[in-house]
Symmetry: C2
Subunit: 166 residues, 2 copies
DNA sequence: CTTATTACGGATATTTATTATCCGTATTTA
DNA sequence: TAAATACGGATAATAAATATCCGTAATAAG
């Protein structure tokens, strides 16, 4: 059980976009080159983020992506769910119905209370999501600013600027 | 991202074993029939549980599986990690090293503090595991006893006993 | 208007993980 | 001795993740 690498890419890209001056954009090509990952494949992740309303893309030359709203209003959960889906990690296939003396499954349309096993797993899932929801891109930016040497931050920003004006 | 169905099977089987009188055993064949799942495949999950020290299997006729320790000392996390592995759900491929102005990766043997992104994901993972660790098989048994009609519990127990003496 | 550049989305191939089955070996009870 | 069992290795089938390709529409600049 592993999150797909789209998640890591999406988080990184959002982190980079969060450090971008208002009304500037970065094309997918540059984001891919910056991270050393396949451009076409990264595009899928970016499109997922876009259709989830987290980033917004604009067409044409000088086009590219930028955050669709303030970094303080984008949580890790938003990003993870955008690329990984909102589905639960534990799926119940109702094997209890195969037990010889099981209760009969509910009539079509009606739903049954999830069993005790499933509820524990769902609650764990909720705890995971809850933690992801408690951290925003703004929080991340603050941490990065504290931990990454200024030289590195500046260097990357300049590399980006140079590439975009080339 | 989804847990494998082994997890569901393992949880169910442990739940059944927890309701078993001391010094009785259930062979894999019966556990599979009880749940309507493929026997040979279920065996893999049971072997994983066994080698993790959660259940113990004995050979020969009248052999089978039973819990290796008291239900109160077996947590959901024990079971999940036994079949799913202890690996983290978020894997960091260190794509930051591809950034043009990245810090150099640490010398061989040395480790680097995980980056801010990874730490958030790891903490979420920890929250998930922590919740799973807080629930034991004994807790589950108590809930099941409360929620499942006595008729069903009895019926299944009798089905099991009949099969084992056949 | 034309051209270059971009996001977007559909189709498809490749690789890996999950799901499932098969069978031989060792151990234990009757 | 024979039947029943756990165990583990090998392998096949299926699904999911990873990756690439290409056509379309939109936009900015010359
Ligand atoms: S997890 Fe619960 S609901 Fe799902 S199959 Fe098992 S017993 Fe049934
Ligand atoms: S998650 Fe953090 S450590 Fe992992 S690649 Fe991204 S920046 Fe690097």
């Amino acid at each position: 059980m592993q999150l797909k690498n789209h998640v890591e890419w999406a988080l990184h890209c959002c982190s980079v976009l969060a450090a971008l001056p208002e009304d500037e954009r970065i094309p997918a090509k540059l984001l891919a080159e910056l991270h050393g990952i396949p451009r076409e494949y990264l595009s899928k992740a970016l499109q997922a983020l876009s259709s989830a309303g987290i980033i917004s893309g604009t067409l044409g030359p000088t086009g590219g992506y930028k955050l669709a709203r303030a970094p303080g209003r984008i949580t890790f959960l938003d990003i993870v769910e955008a690329v990984e889906g909102k589905g639960r990690t534990f799926v119940c296939t109702e094997i209890r119905d195969n037990m010889p003396c099981a209760e009969k499954p509910p009539a079509k349309g009606k739903t049954r209370r999830p069993c005790a096993v499933a509820r524990v797993m769902y609650d764990a899932d909720k705890a995971w999501r809850s933690h992801l929801q408690s951290v925003t891109l703004a929080d991340l930016a603050k941490t990065v600013e504290k931990e990454v040497p200024l030289r590195v931050l500046k260097g990357n920003a300049e590399w980006l600027a140079a590439k975009r004006n080339a």
